[in-house]
Symmetry: C2
Subunit: 420 residues, 2 copies
Amino acid sequence: MKVLITGIDGYTGWPLALHLLGRGHEVVGIDNFVTRRRVKEVGSWSATPIGTFPRRQSAVEELLGKSIAFHRGDVTNYAFVHRVLELERPDAVVHLGEQRSAPYSMIDVHHAVRTQTENISGTINLLYAMRDLVPESHLVKMGTMGEYGTPNIDIAEGFFDVEWRGRTDAHLPFPRQAGSWYHWSKVHDSGNVLFATRVWGLRATDVMQGVVYGIRTPEMVDDRLLTRFDFDEVWGTALNRFVVEALLGLPITPYGKGGQTRGYIALEDSMQSLRLSVENPVGRGEYRVVNQFDAAYSVNQLAEITRDVAREFSIEARIEHVPNPRVESEDHYYHPLHEKLPAMGYRRTRELTEVVRELFRDLRKYRRRLEQKRSVVLPATDWRKGTSRPAELAPTPMPALSTAPPTPTALPEGSLAHGP
Amino acid sequence: MKVLITGIDGYTGWPLALHLLGRGHEVVGIDNFVTRRRVKEVGSWSATPIGTFPRRQSAVEELLGKSIAFHRGDVTNYAFVHRVLELERPDAVVHLGEQRSAPYSMIDVHHAVRTQTENISGTINLLYAMRDLVPESHLVKMGTMGEYGTPNIDIAEGFFDVEWRGRTDAHLPFPRQAGSWYHWSKVHDSGNVLFATRVWGLRATDVMQGVVYGIRTPEMVDDRLLTRFDFDEVWGTALNRFVVEALLGLPITPYGKGGQTRGYIALEDSMQSLRLSVENPVGRGEYRVVNQFDAAYSVNQLAEITRDVAREFSIEARIEHVPNPRVESEDHYYHPLHEKLPAMGYRRTRELTEVVRELFRDLRKYRRRLEQKRSVVLPATDWRKGTSRPAELAPTPMPALSTAPPTPTALPEGSLAHGP
């Protein structure tokens, strides 16, 4: 199949391109490199050094013997989107080209408006261009498990059957209760994609993805093929920050009580899942929602796993809870369903602790890059205030890292996951 | 109270200003006059001639002895919104300043994107400015009953209690399934307002308003105080078009089978409802959703009422179903709850048939203005294609209208409403 990936230069876009190439698909990419610029804007960079896109293309040609077609541009520009779709006529469009940081969206009113208007415009542009140029093509749209919030009932895969006041509707959209302007932008997208499938008969899979962890997929046979790894407060996930905090000799800092529970999935398994959605398109007018995560963990569990793995690397990291800048429940029920991907053939290939070990191994190589940016790891965006303030905790000296390969201590399988 | 009305120059903004002034409130308005321009853009105008805003202000001073403060500007401009709130510090903000036409949003990709980004940006701007300048102020936000779509269960007022798979959540947002980019923009707004109440403790009432009908409120003691009346395919409601079609000697043209059922409310009762929400603010952090309609009617019922009232005015109008340009169920269950406004003291003061008679009486005065624009009444926007096409039905000659006052024929009370 010919697959167009928007946001191909990003954390998941790049490994998806490699993965699809490895499976024999043709890959075309779009990016405007805005994530690179915006990470710089907050004073940070990727822990892994990322070459320019032409260098990445050359590495793919040299190391994998494949090529990636690329169009530089912005999905919020309709003329650009129309031109690329007219030229490329893909069988599937994987839409990852959106502003993806919740803290970034909470910085102030301008970041809030920009996040929502950019994300929504890009998606509407794609929907119109697909309708007019490739109406048989299948949209695989990146959403987030965060759209659902933390209701006190199980979380359906997009739709559920409701009996209320003596009547039944068998197919109602599951209520969304997001927790940031960013997450709401994804909710808005979901509504818009649903509408396009109903009004125009487009085909779409809406991916409610859990938090993705890890840095490596099997296709990354050389460090030139690595994907980006963000660890600052704005662009890095909690787990990324925890690992980097441990490596930098800082305390591991869960927000609040740490009972916040979310779905997670390894980068490699996220690529497997996206590929499964691409290779199993839906029918005309069908809107499929998949909950794309592998297991649920609380923030405290992530902190403890990081601390335990750090110990294997001779790092003694202390867990220190910091005031939660987010507004969220820190103790709640969480049980999302995830049955559709297994039905398409999904099987877990990576396990969280093993990936955390891999992160420690990989990131030690780039510790100088981490050290130079140690001030960006701690939270500076207070979601209640929505203004930036300087980080509060002073960094402590960087510990000497063992250069000997660590000896992993086996953890009992399955002890980490709770909930499906 | 001091009330800021965004969109004060519009169909509901203007009568709301008059109504609140009449109740002793202080009124400040914002508008950018974009609706005037956009109605021109589709080749139409208001059936009622509307003076410039300074003329409207003068009429209010002369006829009602009151004054309206006014700031010309765009709510999508944050600096403007901030400046006005800083200067005026209102006790309540009634946010009507949004693109309000579903067909307009369906014209093409640019109108779709514009509708959603404008509406969302304006609301986010207001939320931030209220948070920073008037955090105790109460936002009354105009949404639409169309956010809910037509589920096969009763429609709650915003939230409902759900039992699913053995667990219960007592307060989940009622699922939204809108039918146009415009309606989805209101869904997106609702999510954003809900979020702002949760993250910042703002006060908000989200008004799920039914279709509003009528042209007059008791405060309009002179025709210089009338509100606008749109009758073209893009800006006019079905009922407005039906009345104008009858007056122009055209067939009355319900879309499709005409079983589409929606909630409706008279302009005067909508003003009563908005005032009740303003005068009964919610607590900090509270997000109240009210279903603001009075009774539900099918499109066929509207067509039949119009035909019957036309006959009282010696006009024989034929009902002619035309292909439905919208994508919607034409035969469905519809039972929305509306208990919160009655609990605040809402009582119906106007009845549909009576208002339709009033429309015929008022619009005969402006029949030359209708006649000049007869080509804009019929549907030109196909929602499946999203491109404009010329109207299909050729206009027939304008009938001679009786100048004698009509003798209304009594219709049995209650025969028109079905549903709640």
